[in-house]
Symmetry: C2
Subunit: 438 residues, 2 copies
């Protein structure tokens, strides 16, 4: 019943059903992922994948954001999906730590230019919401056991979310949506063991492609079990709360101010503040003897890499995030480049950084003490990290993040135009025109 319930809900969803907070969250989710795709488009994971697979690509219908290249829809979903996640800078549904928008948006953006009719912003948003709700509801049903045994929950649920979104966009019947769900569910991509390698970003890319493939096969009559979800995952009850019958998950989607594991964010947030404070009181970072960060225990479990060897590993190092925050006053993708990770000053400060698990702290909270040569110390308590649900990034902050990711690739003028286009998603008559601006 869960599969059919999700299929029926998908078919019945329409734009007027969506509360304003939902469409608002959808636009912010889209805006954020568009910048992330551009920002990740030049990363080696992206360029290697494009080089490896270009000999097998079909008609270049679908644009790769942030590049001059297009490729077939199936590869575009993969490549844009890899780019969307490679900096670990995408959105996070905090209740499940799913990064929901990448697989769904990349599948939709890939297939839209192949359709015989334009897709409006409101149609796009409706499909996007369908896919994101599907991912997050399924995620809630299987969290945390599913993640704990080693699955990258973003891509395992992402395949299904992408299938639901594309099925919605293609107006498939409820029966075919159910087959699409099954065909996506059986492609269970993503082991957490891959974290710290290119394969992590491959996961949401492949999820976008898995879901797109599933919907396209189902459209032509390819069949699957129509009980994929209940058979393997026990979603019966949770699915009952889909959409307006329960809460909307997309409004609980958060955005990262820093391109790394979200549990590190309170530390970075506090360290960026401390960077300013140290400057204000005239303390040189070289005079720091020790930094002690009291953190939620999950921080060390997930991001305890003390000596990251490159940018990808640094994303799983609370020490690196704290060090660049303190030393440089920011932690954008540039601060996760390999040369920064291996910079002598950063390495030295990381070595003086100590993280202490404290079960009394929430995951979005931390307490920092900087001990300075001579005996002085400066403290900072972060109640809610920037980017948490209690302290969400503002549209202005999202814009600054977008610009930071795009300007070096697109230039100022195009970045500015793209930013406005993406904020105006709801008014777009043809979302396929994104190819002209990003």
């Amino acid at each position: 019943m869960a599969t059919q319930a999700l299929a029926d809900w998908t078919v019945s969803l329409s734009y007027p059903d969506l509360p304003e907070e939902v469409t608002h969250a959808a636009v912010r989710s889209f805006y954020n992922i568009a910048g992330c795709i551009v920002g990740g488009s030049q990363h080696p994971a992206s360029t290697i994948a494009r080089n490896a697979l270009s000999p097998f690509s079909g008609p270049p219908t679908s644009h790769l954001l942030g590049t001059n290249a297009s490729t077939d829809a199936m590869h575009a979903a993969l490549f844009n999906g890899i780019a969307s996640h490679v900096h670990d800078y995408d959105d996070t549904h905090l209740d499940t730590i799913i990064h929901p928008t990448g697989p769904v948006a990349c599948a939709l953006l890939a297939i839209i230019p192949t359709l015989s009719h334009p897709v409006s912003g409101t149609e796009f948003i409706t499909a996007l919401v369908a896919g994101i709700e599907a991912e997050c509801k399924i995620g809630l049903a299987v969290w945390p056991a599913h993640y704990d045994v080693g699955w990258h929950i973003t891509s395992t649920t992402g395949s299904i979310g992408a299938a639901v979104a594309v099925a919605k966009l293609l107006s498939l019947s409820a029966e075919k949506v159910a087959h699409a769900i099954g065909l996506a569910a059986t492609q269970v991509t993503g082991l957490r063991e891959m974290f710290g390698s290119h394969a992590k970003s491959f996961h949401p890319g492949r999820a976008a492609q898995n879901g797109l493939l599933a919907a396209l096969l189902a459209r032509e009559g390819f069949t699957s079990s129509v009980e994929a979800l209940e058979a393997k995952r026990g979603l019966e009850e949770e699915i009952g709360g889909l959409g307006d019958a329960g809460r909307w998950e997309i409004v609980r989607n958060a955005f990262k101010p820093f391109p790394c594991g979200i549990v590190v964010h309170p530390v970075i947030d506090g360290c960026v503040w401390l960077h300013g404070e140290l400057e204000r009181v005239g303390v040189d970072v070289a005079d720091i003897e020790e930094v002690i960060a009291d953190v939620h225990p999950l921080v060390l479990e997930l991001t305890g890499k003390a000596t990251p060897k490159d940018g990808l590993e640094a994303k799983f190092s609370v020490y690196h995030g704290g060090a660049v925050g303190l030393l440089l006053g920011k932690a954008a993708p540039a601060q996760y480049e390999d040369d920064v990770v291996l910079d002598g000053r950063v390495v030295a400060l990381r070595a003086r950084f100590r993280a202490v698990p404290d079960e009394n702290l929430r995951a979005d909270e931390c307490h920092l003490v900087v001990k300075v040569r001579g005996g002085a110390s400066i403290e900072k308590h972060v109640d809610y990290a920037m980017g948490s649900l209690e302290c969400p990034m503002t549209n202005e902050q999202l814009t600054a993040k977008f610009v930071d990711q795009c300007v070096g690739i697109l230039g100022e003028e195009r970045t500015d135009r793209a930013s406005r286009w993406c904020w105006d998603l709801e008014e777009q008559a043809d979302v396929g025109r994104i190819n002209d601006v990003l």
Copy 2:
């Protein structure tokens, strides 16, 4: 260590290392799968997939066996892989019930025509053996728990086998083979929940594609964890026995005389014999009151569908296999067509067919009693079903199976030529020329 051990073994494997029984088994495995791909090429699962995905296909380098069509290597791996399994007529590594050859052979056949040099039969066999050994060794390490919790072990291990085989063919370094293994391992395709739908055959097709993709990404420098196997599956010890350090799994690969779940084979084998016996003694099938089959308990667990609604479901019906064996004296793909499954005489005989689990019987054994109106009865005890390791299909039987699958599609002359070409695999100077014959 397991991943690196498999990678090192793959790199070091060479044709002269292969005992004759191994190359012999490889040729038989290849011969059997070639016929199965042709035989499955016209099935709706195959044609629907081709129709759905042709708009996204790249340069048509790679042939779809049994058709006039070619497509890019990535799609060819998928389509040939679907065809290879759709009749459930492919090979079986009985210790793990993996169908090992499809994913591996389909990935290899797809990529060969894109290479700048011809691939000889011996190079092909070496890569094929590498892939099949990888699948089966990994399968042995995770069997039966992995299957019991719901994974289609053919495709979950098939992705890795295909990656290993392609990596071998491309002469990747051991480091890159390890990345290829990781990239394949993280694409865990195949839920048993899909059995009875098109998605079942999608699994080995996608596995072929997953593995091919993994090897091509790794070749260009895309990274994964290099501990994918030990981290998630605990293969350390089993991998120690790879290749000549232990037994060769490929020689334990068996071939199906009947296109359905292998546990049904003893019943079909016995019923085909009984069909002849009933004819000999002049009993009309309409006079059969009841058939009682004592079978291994797994037979009912896996193939207990009493009233299959179509050919795909009939593959999971011991009742259907027995009925067509008794009534028609054979159980080839034609006896699993929808119209046969719904034929009144078949339906009536299925209804009189009773299967009784008996824990004292092996899975390749059964005891049959046919009770005839008037009180007479005929019995048959099958010690080892045809196609079991103890009673393997002969080359002549494999040839008859090949011809049965190909002749309606290729015609007699081409079938005969293709059969000879495939038996002569070891002597072929350019395996890519298979495109000319099949």
